[in-house]
Point group: C2
Chain length 763, copies 2
């Protein structure tokens, strides 16, 4: 195997220069001739009837070009799974972020001032807040037209849980909860819609995480062909799963106003608007019942996990489905019964966020494993080693893990060793005489790569060699700031043996880029990267034919150092010269690449099947310092070992690990929207706290474990979400060691840590 | 063969609605945020040294953001064949359109006023005007660095001309000339360059006939990769070959200023600027010597054709090459010697214009055939029938015409019959006693389709089926207003059996569309249409596999009426449902299509070979009324029969014929730039006369002759230029009959017709 020149290298980001020089434009930087500024008027109540909307004063405000309500919208509904999101609320508002009217004006100020003149008369309705209430038979029904508040129920049945629990030497039952979490992307949402630009009805510019879903929504709302809506992706200042449905809603709103005025319309959310309107991470309420033998062998798990879907279905059916697969953790359990639900409430709706359905269940599962270990007088490491997946293990859905290396031992050993876990664990088990106490904890996981059996898992790319040897690359998956363009450029450069500078990675454009699903599920490198590789391989097939004819060489061609070589190492031709010669001979060097994930399956009745075609394995450990006088927790060290298959760009992988660990830290310790009956109290970063560099551990040891996966390009799998799902449990386990008290509710804030207080009564 | 539903039908133009409602945007309609208006300062003399340029006053003018001269341009040269065009003149101006400085300002007015403040000091130089002078050994050399003024010389030698002339019963020698002609597109040139838009260094918007050539020029001038320059085509208000190099020059200028100011820069020519700066049709001076037997059989032709290239080489080498192939007309001539030249002069440079190198030589050739017929007391029809190509004839380059039907007899019979030629010919040969006299004449031609052996002849397209069954189509060839988008959409719709409304034909975009050469040479339908067809066929291959799997049908699929049928006529699935189902199964329904023209060859030393892979055949006849008291000519009727292989859109074909005939009428009778030593007198349409509806014949009978060509999509060949190349000779022959006097110089203006005066002395 010759050494790789472009992949497995920490190449500088291809968009680094534009970003650090400020040249990169983000959604709100875009300016179009004659552009109008849009403003949305949102409800004053989380749940209310709209009695009347008077827009006449706003219409008269100087500079206002259009004022619209739901009745002005051709088709007011959209939704990625269940079509029940409203572009603007018709007769009822369902959560505090619902828009009731909108307008567009020639200045931002006019838009803002005129919006204040729109008079809406409401009749407040009793709301449903929290899944406990939503599940009651007599609960008000949130979603008009539904019989009750259940969005989804995923059952999983393996073996016989009753029997398993009977056979167990010990049965423990615990309740865990997690909170709503804000994505807290640094760039609030911004879209601009240009009407009738060239061949489309509308062109949407902005940071759109899922361009094709936004295209679906806009085409649906405008009642036109998909080909008539074009979404052109711009630089994204963070998304983390959060710029999907809410951006679609904004795009729909701006599109309707753009067509009404025949001018470009820009909608930019302020931070407050963003926090009030955007969807959140699902809060979960989880009941875990585990049966084990005295030696720690797991025999049964019975789990109920209930997610708060908020006002709309959004991605709840899929988010909760991932919870099903990961709820039992990376452990062999012969008897499993899980029931995972989503319920409507009048809280903000919830959707995709980094980790999707896994961080809540891993928080519960990996906290519970420590509780069980303590009960059985085993160490956290012992109980995990006893039960964790090995090669050919069978998962809760009865999938045999035989596709490649199950590296849980390796990731756990490496993460624990890096943080000096065992010594510290012993040490912190000894009495600590300061009020500042230390603890160490860890968590492990397995995680299905990509979308899984409930969605279409395929992606496409275009690689186009120009006649001067420069290369244009398009991907159906969008750069979200995670480094996708760099990784894809590296793959194209590696395949064609050229320097990275030859590649121009274009933005995703729905009228050009193959529809590839969303940039989610940590799927881009494997699925999208494979498509890029395939496109380059297709071109090499054409080149091989041409080389045979033009240069009289039919053997294997080695592509390296911007040239083509024979297998004996003799230079055939420089790459740019090849490109020019091929062009002048009418040989076409552009190709689509298309990758379809290997076969997967799922039985929705039983929760059995092959939900994912491959998995990643990870372990994160955290060392904390708890001020037992105040409840303040400082995470002093973390280690994180992740089997990524193969790192295309090790520096990027480490970046993902650092970011994921710190995001998990925020989830664990501080993030809190301050809900009160559907109202959000913390609508900006002065009150909604996210970790800063002061909160980050002094050291995060990022360990890249590589067991190349045959399914991925050069063996690569994924890292984006795996890096975020473990920190909460690891920190919680560390706090438990430091304080001697087990917490079960996120966030682990001052009060809970200080008082050791949980929401449920088991404690 | 089932009936075609989408092709061979006069479908409404796909861009008709946008154009008639005024929604279609042209280059000068584009507006960008912060856009600057550019202004070019042009030379005051056709040939001069630049002594000094003082730009300081202009720089101080309020609103001016940049003033530039040649020294500010990274690489000042470009050129499609010979790189000798200057973006701005350095030390010497070569023609009256040369730019010497440019600026960009925040308003059009500031740009215009500031431009007047740029002070240029010149030293006038003796100029070279006309090829007679340019050919002299002691002529000043126009192009710095060259030894003499010759741009190109194409010889052709077949048989032995001296011997042929000796064997002839009659030898005639005549000199013909043609004039400079303005393209007279209704939309003057307009481009806007946006700097650093997303992933490119510059994006160029505007009506660009040859987007890839403009990309070449801009990348060359900016010294960057081709992938960093993006050309996005906008609606084009006519081109006729004229929006190529001049648009490239404008794009280069705007690009340099856009990068200097970091703002979009728009350059729009006024009509005067357009006429002064843009390249023209080549004027030709042609000497024809023909030897024939008494019965009319041609035995030898010796031809010298000399084209005025003006100040730059531009496309002169290729334009004159087409003259070589067509100079002897569609006649079997055993002994041929032709020498075709281009020479630099200090006149405006000349380049591509509808017909390319053929209208001048056809004017000469087909006038000469009538002169010869008269001399031999044969009718024009008799002498042509005697000599014209039949199946398997050999051309002057010794190409055997065996690829498909040589339909000269058919086109001639149909054109002559439609205008009632024979009766009228007899009638007008009788003495006419009015001062208003009538005459009728005609001409025939064969014309090579597409670029021919001196260029790369391949084209690509993208057909992309979206999941709702709507279809996005990209072509590397650009819509010039001729109806290309309609024809390509029809082809895609026909192949996939869908209605035309499903297709969205995008504009050519060099970062998306396959590089396909220029929309010239009447090649689009055959070459580009074949690429569209191929892309659709590729998709059908994928669909067939999917249908076998999903619908259990493996036979031939019939695509019609927006659905798929078995060969027995049973409906398999509706097209939109197929698209959705394929998408949900991860089946990819987008494809490139690539078409490479069949092999051709050319020996530049002898002018022998297969210059084109196929030919079209045409005949046009004209009936004129000449006021012998004033010299005024009125063309009262025309007929035109063209073998187009197969008409994809008969209404479009007829439109091309009408337009071509009227354009030829302008060329023949009135178009005159009024040159005087390199200066242009007629710089607007008040003085530069082009035909209006008042000048057009009352009737133009357009006859579509169809002998499907195996090389073309559904047998289609071409029509754009063939429709323009015959009218001049036909009208001249009709005038000769009416007046009894043979004219040999275009235009056939009042004075020449009245006085029967020719420039040369043979008469």
């Amino acid at each position: 195997m010759p050494e790789k020149k472009q992949v497995n290298k920490s190449k500088k980001r291809v968009d680094a220069r534009a970003k650090v020089t400020g040249k990169a434009k983000f959604g709100a930087d875009l300016k179009f001739h004659n552009m109008l500024y849009g403003q949305v008027v949102r409800t004053e109540y989380p749940h209310a009837k709209i009695i009347n909307i008077n827009k006449s004063k706003a219409e008269e405000y100087p500079g206002v070009e259009v004022v619209m309500t739901a009745e002005d919208i051709p088709n007011n509904l959209f939704g990625v799974i269940i079509e029940n999101q409203q572009v603007l609320a018709e007769d009822r508002v369902l959560y505090i972020g619902d828009g009731v009217a909108m307008l567009a004006a020639r200045s931002k100020k006019a838009a803002r001032e005129a919006a204040k003149l729109i008079e809406v008369e409401y009749e407040e309705l009793p709301g449903v807040y929290g899944v406990e209430e939503a599940r009651q038979a007599d609960s008000p029904v949130v979603m008009p037209g539904e019989e009750n508040n259940q969005v989804i129920h995923h059952p999983l049945r393996k073996g016989d849980v009753s029997e398993g629990l009977t056979e167990a030497d010990i049965v423990m039952e615990r309740k865990y909860t997690t909170q709503f979490v804000e994505h807290a992307y640094i760039e609030p949402e911004a879209v601009t819609v240009v009407p009738e630009e060239r061949n489309t009805l509308v062109t949407v510019y902005g940071a759109v995480q899922n361009p094709n879903a936004t295209r679906d929504a806009v085409a649906n709302v405008l009642d036109c062909d998909l080909s008539k809506v074009r979404i052109i992706q711009d630089n994204m200042g963070g998304s983390f799963g959060g710029k999907d449905e809410n951006i679609s809603a904004m795009a729909c709103r701006a599109a309707v106003m753009a067509l009404a005025t025949n001018k470009p319309v820009q909608l930019v959310n302020s931070r407050e608007e963003s926090i009030i309107e955007s969807y959140k991470r699902h809060p979960y309420t989880m009941n875990y019942k585990i049966g084990a033998k005295d030696d720690g062998e797991l025999v049964a798990m019975e789990i109920e996990a209930v997610a708060d879907s908020g006002a709309y279905a959004c991605q709840t059916p899929f988010v909760t489905w991932r919870s099903v697969v990961q709820a039992t953790g990376p452990y062999e359990v012969p008897n499993v019964k899980t029931d995972t639900y989503g319920f409507y409430t009048n809280s903000p709706y919830t959707g995709a966020m980094r980790g999707y359905g896994s961080p809540p269940v891993i928080f519960a599962q990996e906290s519970m494993m420590d509780e069980l270990a303590a009960e059985l007088d085993l160490t956290p490491a012992e109980i995990r080693r006893k039960n964790m997946f090995k090669n050919n293990s069978r998962t809760a859905s009865n999938q045999k893990l035989d596709n490649h290396e199950v590296s849980l031992t390796e990731v756990m050993d490496k993460a624990l060793s890096a943080i000096d876990y065992h010594d510290k664990y012993e040490k912190y088990n000894q009495p600590q005489d300061s009020t500042i106490k230390r603890g160490i904890g860890f968590a492990i996981s397995y995680r299905g790569v990509s979308l899984g059996a409930e969605a279409i898992d395929a992606a496409g790319a275009i690689v186009s060699v120009q006649k001067d040897g420069s290369i244009i690359l398009y991907s159906g998956l969008a750069e979200n700031g995670q480094g996708l363009k760099t990784v894809f450029s590296q793959i194209a450069a590696e395949e064609l043996g050229v320097s990275l500078e030859r590649i121009t990675h274009m933005e995703t454009d729905t009228s050009v880029s193959p529809e590839s699903g969303s940039t989610v599920a940590s799927r881009s490198t494997l699925v999208g990267g494979s498509a890029v590789k395939k496109a380059a391989e297709n071109i090499k097939t054409v080149i091989a034919e041409f080389v045979a004819e033009e240069y009289d060489y039919s053997g294997k061609i080695i592509y390296r150092d911007d040239a083509l070589y024979t297998k004996e190492g003799e230079r055939i031709v420089a790459f740019p010269e090849l490109a020019a010669t091929a062009f002048h001979n009418g040989v076409f060097l552009s190709s689509y690449g298309w990758y379809k994930a290997p076969g997967i399956s799922w039985d929705e009745e039983t929760g059995q099947g092959r939900p994912y075609f491959t998995y990643v394995y990870g372990c994160q450990a955290a060392e904390v310092e708890v001020d037992t006088g105040t409840g303040e927790v400082k995470v002093v060290n973390m280690s994180a070992a992740h089997d990524v298959g193969k790192a295309i760009n090790p520096a990027n992988v480490r970046g993902q690990i650092y970011g994921g660990a710190v995001m998990a830290l925020g989830h664990a310790l501080m993030e809190d929207l301050g809900f009160s009956k559907g109202f959000i109290k913390h609508t900006n970063f002065d009150e909604y706290l996210i970790p800063t560099v002061k909160d980050a551990p002094e050291n995060i040891e990022a360990i890249i474990v590589e067991n190349p996966d045959p399914a991925g390009p050069y063996g690569a799998k994924s890292i984006g979400e795996p890096a975020m799902e473990l920190g909460g449990a690891a920190i919680n386990n560390a706090i438990a060691q430091a304080t001697g008290r087990r917490l079960r509710d996120l966030p682990l804030n001052l009060e809970r840590v200080l008082l050791g207080r949980n929401l449920s009564k088991e404690d």
